[in-house]
Amino acid sequence: MSDDWDNNIADFEMPDPRLSRLDDLDDEERLIVDIEGFEGPLDVLLALSRTQKVDLKQISILELVKQYLEFVTKARALRLELAADYLVMAAWLAYLKSRLLLPEEESEDELSAEELAARLTHQLARLNAMRERAAILMSRNQMGRDVFARGAPEAVIITRYHTYELSMYELLKAYAEHRTREAVADIQIFKRNVYTLDQAIERLSDMLGLALDWTSLEQFLPSGIEDAQLIKSTKASMFSASLELAKMGRAELEQKQQFGPLFIRGRKRDPKEEEN
């Protein structure tokens, strides 16, 4: 392919006459600067290469680069926020151009400029070929458009492997929908009706001031609670509160037997402890 490719570096000692050709083009021959109409830089390059009206293998990379850079400059003037893809391609083409114009350096790790250019040409030709094939494919006689199957098919007995009909599409769709639903599932956490530990400590310490003798903890439970859940919660919190107060040295606890009633009484503050 590189044989066909006609950008011999040696030819470019003098300004390439072809480079000036673009300036002579009529306006209508030039690519209209319309980014929206294109699907990315490769698409633009392909369209530009077509304006050279030659076999894609024969395109002049230098002219192509020139046209592309001009296109991008104009497009940028119109729309500052030109997509990064276009600018990356522009930068790369500018680099390619410079390498094509400069004398070739011997380098082992880098591809030669010709190889890079050939690669770009190949990519453009491949895209072009796929487009042509796509058009050919779509112009074939299509089932349901040009040719038709039996309009009123009759069911046939053929050994069936499956009784149920389900396509991959339906399966994936179902899972995706499930995932989507799940992602937004409203999580409702109901506020539980609880008697908090803070409430219990506050109530217990207030009441301990009044009862200095042993008193069953049960007696301190707030009255008038109907909700079974809340009663449980109150008991648990009051028990924890009693332990907490005992730990703080503000109450004493006593239990005569296992599972027996728990007695509590307030403890006078020991002045010595306070000092510590």
Partner: protein
């Protein structure tokens, strides 16, 4: 247009039509002055000894399997059944999360799974019990079958598209955008190539607490 050409046209029209056609309807497709009736009779003769006959029913014409070959045709009521939505979703969850217990499926779906749903999938030979979970109660776990892979042209369940691939293919797109945002918020690009189902573990945290 000669007679043979006209016969071909009628033949094609009758073949492709999803209902019987009248000779008047056929005549409209033929050059003026054509004798549709004669053409139809010639066609009928042509197919007389074939596996398919051209018959006239209620003044209209249609192709029909020859009566003596009716045994080849399936009865209507054996028509393929469509899977229910719940079944499709359950199948998808089993495929992605296998081995999975019924309770886990219910947890993932957030709805109960009736026994019939799994039965239908087992009847279709897409799902089978694959073992028991070593947890209290030793619940049965389900997985997909060889037939499942065959049905969907997969080499292995690992070939099912992962979440990011579903997203990329546009499957997670069509629902509504606010939902999509929520979904993509959790983790932008979780690539879970090997086990597409693994990125689902978080679902257990979404249990309703009451």
């Amino acid at each position: 247009m000669n007679h043979h050409e006209q016969m071909r046209i009628c033949e094609a029209l009758l073949f492709a039509s999803d209902r019987p056609l009248s000779s008047i309807a056929l005549a409209e497709q033929l050059p003026e002055g054509s004798d549709a009736q004669a053409i139809l009779e010639d066609l009928q003769k042509k197919y007389k000894d074939s596996g398919v006959n051209l018959v006239e029913v209620a003044g209209k014409w249609m192709f029909q399997t020859a009566a003596d070959l009716a045994f080849l045709l399936r009865k209507e009521e054996e028509k393929e059944r469509k899977l229910s939505r719940a079944a499709v979703e359950t199948l998808a969850i089993i495929a992605y999360h296998q081995p999975v217990t019924r309770a886990e499926i219910e947890e993932i779906r957030g709805v109960g799974v009736s026994k019939g749903t799994i039965d239908v999938l087992m009847e279709a030979v897409w799902v089978k019990p694959v073992g028991r979970r070593r947890t209290p109660g030793r619940p049965m776990t389900y997985g997909t079958t060889e037939d499942f892979l065959v049905q969907f042209g997969l080499n292995s369940v690992k070939d099912l598209p992962g979440i990011s691939e579903l997203k990329a293919a546009g499957f997670l797109d069509n629902v509504n955008t606010s939902r999509l945002n929520l979904l993509s918020d959790e983790k932008p690009d979780e690539e879970q190539p090997d086990l597409p189902m693994d990125d689902d573990e978080s679902s257990s945290e979404e249990q309703v607490i009451s």
